[in-house]
Symmetry: C4
Subunit: 371 residues, 4 copies
């Protein structure tokens, strides 16, 4: 743990973004067809190491079903437009027609409408009825409130997510959710996050979660770093979580999955995240760029409507191709932003690795301003 | 103290700007309402760790009163337009109507008008009469001359400030102000600066000052680094002053406050400055961006009218919101430049700290080009 | 081998691009006329350490002949337009007249036309008949298929090239080319590549190749780094291959040439590549910028038409001067992109070295953003 | 001497530009009037540590006289327009009226006209007759040829200068100038350069020169780094020469002056060069920006007309103020490019140093992208 002296009274480690590292080809190569990109979380198997972010601009029940069909996972936010409105498609279409100031006002209204438990059940059921594994997210503040509906709908995988989430939250309101006791008692696998340090990842792993989301301040809708000064370059955040995973495995024999969340825009970024140590990635903006994404050309964070300190903003996204083209190809341009999985396969093949766990062993180099 | 070899005959330490560091979230979080941002200087308590710079574009008696009402401190410059002119508001309004060359000429005239002692008394009294703590600044060259008026008006907190100020100034004019003997004899708490190194901060602390301003060449109106080659990246300057504070405390038992001055533009910068070691920050440009700032859309340094080597220049500032919105919110956009204190609270809460002194212990990482 | 900690669970070495290093003048200087830029590969001697890339936008039989006449080597791609079409000049002229989308479609058609063995023989013979050494390239996938025609035409130097090529390829199609056994049995000198690490270079050297191409992801037509996350800054790639060359020489007594491929655009880049350890360089984009290049103002990679994951793209190139002016001068502007060899001679002379092998000993410095 | 590993087979030191270092204020300050900027070279004393570059766009006899009057030194090039033409002012005025391509052609003609010895004598005498110390430059190739005229005119200070100059030049033409024997026999103080490394500087010092010019590839008219790959960031070049000066002083008792040449554009750059170890600076572009500079709004290197590999180019320069304003002020803007000496005095005063030799001891910090 090499510290850099910031000044005589304070030191810190040097941290790296994903575009500051590059994967080094090895002395072996392999046909891309011989590469296995699957991973398993608890009892579930995914063909692709991709989860779609629990954001209304990224995941609707329809896109969740489409992603499930491709072998990826779409995480529906249970506190978003789909559980607050009867006709979310109309709401989203209206939103896409508004200019930015009007959209900001409308977003606040949309998320001021109450979450309805019967809609929670309905949306989850819609995904399950399509024969696809149902994944959905809640904030820790509302987890207990929404849990009866989640159980009723027999959700397959639960994500408990905040922009920064810790296993030890101090609150003076009502009793905050104690992740350490709460998760262990659930009969459904849970992913928790986000976090961005070795200690925070380790303590989230100790809650009994099946996976931990890693990433703070790297996503395209968050301006956490400028607004509050907090953030971790994603390559270092992942590599620190990898070390936490090793320690937790050593201590308990349980392998908790590290899921890189945010800071990735190309297939190359996904490959680099995995070599840093991620078992899978959670993607927002890259999937919001699909022509058939629910955001209809826009992308926004779920914390955007915060009244006094907005952390996210609605951003226009350049359309890249259909969701299938973005995820599995064929690539429609040379930007690396379509056929993300093809790119990952290509990276693994060029380095001679045949599965994700092996690929994590690939050599990285640190570069100045990209190779 | 790790030195880098610049060449075979000269070495130096690596220094960092505030935007080259990022705060790492910890394993704890906290409600933002449970965060305490107060600090105490001598007998005075401030709810917010913010002082407004002694610049005519930032602090008028009215803004000083407004800032005092919010729990911050507005430092009025006693050698500026307010103590030279009977109708400063008219002068400032005229200035705002001029183009840049005309404004440069007018600035020289404005500051060529003599400082009048009865105006010094009047302006200070105006602030005190509003029931607010009165803070004001002088240069070391004129401290003794203005002290009778300062005493008469019963100023609460005095700032003695130069762009680079040392405890040992060599002059061949009249006897220069000996800070080491002068400050100790005053019955009013004093903040001195600016300085930007461990040794300079330590010697200023030894003058008996209650606080030291840290920052040279980082402010938006100064071009010190290009003009004279001098300057210190602010993260390192603060961390060095923190070390000086520790040594001075160890030697004397007296805690001298480190006030970061310049180089901050967002709430994130303020949070980073505090984690580097600052007890409070002094802000110029971020407050000049208030729609009700006395600069009326412009910002200039108090050393701008220097005849042969101008170090500062009048710059137009983008209006961000009212002074209240800039300091305490609600945020009016997502730039991090409004609701500065809300952002600071958010940072402290995300890292689980409940007061500023604890927050100084947060972990920093050094980044390449920002997180 | 100094490792940098990316995070607690992953480390990597710091890697450098060619524009991050600069050559340090020594205490000796020399007339540029006294500088020898020749090198020998197997039985062949080149006056200039320059090979032209096996790309249709760079090398035609005519340019191969012109380059041979200058003492450089032009490598014709045997799976490109020249061996698929009877009238390649017409095809290339048509391509130059198309806009980008039409050109992308046309490129796919052009390279879908089958390679004809009699054209392979014909093109090679055309070069040999001009009295010039014939160099040509194939991919490992088609090496065995094309070898009879190559032998029939009595090719002088064979390049076996893929974007990332290893000595140990895993495939489930037919038996992949085993470079280790295949190259040794050939009676023609072979250059293989590309590779970009010490281990990969070492294993390619052990195949019996006379030279190894070094460079992955640095060329101007490849977007390997963004698309698949793989790549090596070229200065480090070359210096690693230099170490592999030393080890291979120590183990076997055989000196295998390191040929830097990609990432160079000026004479200064060529000089830096040689000081890093290259024996010669392979140039694409700098030669495609010749007014008489076959690409006619465009440049594209040979992997551009890949169906599902295009790695290269047709790019317009700024014309710089004739091929002779680009390679040997006189320089037509001050960009360093014409008279590449004159620049190299100037660099060697300024540092007092009289041949390439000596020049590899010159001192390098690492710079921030270029000198 | 800390080496960085570029790759497994090649290492190099990290080198810094002047804008990568910043001067740290100390615990002392001083009135700017109490600062002494003089230095002595052999028997001559300069009030200002500034030499004007031997370039036709910078120094004419008139500007040499003007600079001498200010206490600086103007070095006239004895192989430029002034010794080739009877009416150089007309030639320079004509040149300023031409567009770039025409100017490039005309420059070649102008410098193809032979140097006339009687003009050498005349120009030097003109400067001496004005009561100013006469400084002039020659290339090593023509030093012996021009020496009779130089002696006849009783030049005070001779500069022998090439873009890279070594004490050991290998040539196959006639016998090259042996600096080691030649300089010692002269009865006139000599400055030689440029060089940019410890060894090169040390060997130039051993020729008996009174001063060494340090800087390769940093000047604004040279594109050495891009064209030939050679160059040294100036802060490191100066600090290396400082170490050579210390060793030479230790070995011989003789103090040879280090004169930083190129890479400086503001007063801050000059201050940083001196703290790195320079005894004085040689300025080209900053003085060509004077409204009364002989280049009349243009600046070009003396090696620009090189036939096959041009290293320099005519560049338009933004006019900044009169020569007096540029050198001694008053400053006409806030760019740091006028009143260069005032800025230097300000830097020395802010750090409490009273002469140049003391100022060389000031502390430097290495910064990321400037303070």
């Amino acid at each position: 743990m090499a510290e850099t002296e910031i000044g005589l009274g304070k030191s810190g480690r040097r941290a790296y973004r994903l575009d500051e590292v590059t994967i080094v080809p090895t002395r072996r190569t392999r046909d891309a067809e011989l590469v296995d990109t699957s991973w398993e979380l608890d009892a579930y198997r995914f063909d692709l190491p991709i989860l779609a972010s629990a954001m209304d601009s990224v995941v609707s029940p329809d896109t969740a079903i489409a992603l499930g069909g491709m072998g990826a996972g779409g995480v529906l936010h249970l506190e978003g437009v789909w559980t607050r409105h009867d006709s979310p498609d109309e709401v989203l279409a209206e939103l896409a027609s508004l200019d930015d100031p009007a959209a900001t006002r409308r977003l606040r209204e949309i998320y001021a409408t109450p979450v309805r438990h019967e809609l929670v059940v309905e949306r989850i059921s819609q995904i399950k009825d399509a024969g696809v594994m149902a994944c959905a997210a809640v904030t820790p503040q509302r987890t207990e409130e929404l849990m009866p509906a989640i159980r009723e709908a027999e959700l397959d995988l639960l994500v408990i997510q905040g922009s920064v989430l810790s296993a030890e939250h101090v609150s003076n309101h009502d009793e905050p959710l104690n992740l350490k006791t709460y998760i262990r008692q659930l009969d459904i696998p849970v992913i928790v996050g986000g976090c961005a340090s070795y200690q925070a990842a380790l303590h989230l792993m100790r809650t009994g979660a099946a996976g931990v989301l890693v990433g703070v301040g790297s996503g395209s809708t968050g301006t956490t770093s400028a607004v509050v000064g907090i953030g971790m370059p994603q390559a270092t955040a992942i590599a620190d979580a990898r070390a936490a995973r090793m320690r937790h495995l050593d201590e308990t024999g349980v392998y908790v999955h590290v899921i890189a969340d945010g800071g990735m825009s190309t297939g190359g970024d996904i490959a680099r995240a995995i070599v840093c140590g991620a078992d899978a990635v959670m993607l927002g903006a890259p999937l919001a760029a699909a022509t058939d994404a629910p955001g209809r050309g826009y992308h926004w964070g779920m914390s955007a409507p915060h009244a006094t300190l907005p952390k996210g903003t609605r951003v226009a996204v350049e359309p890249r191709g259909s969701l299938v083209e973005v995820v599995s190809g064929p690539a429609v341009d040379m930007s690396g932003r379509t056929n993300l999985v093809g790119a990952l396969r290509g990276a693994m093949a060029s380095c001679g690795y045949d599965n994700l766990k092996e690929f994590q062993k690939a050599e990285l180099m640190v570069t100045g301003l990209g190779a």
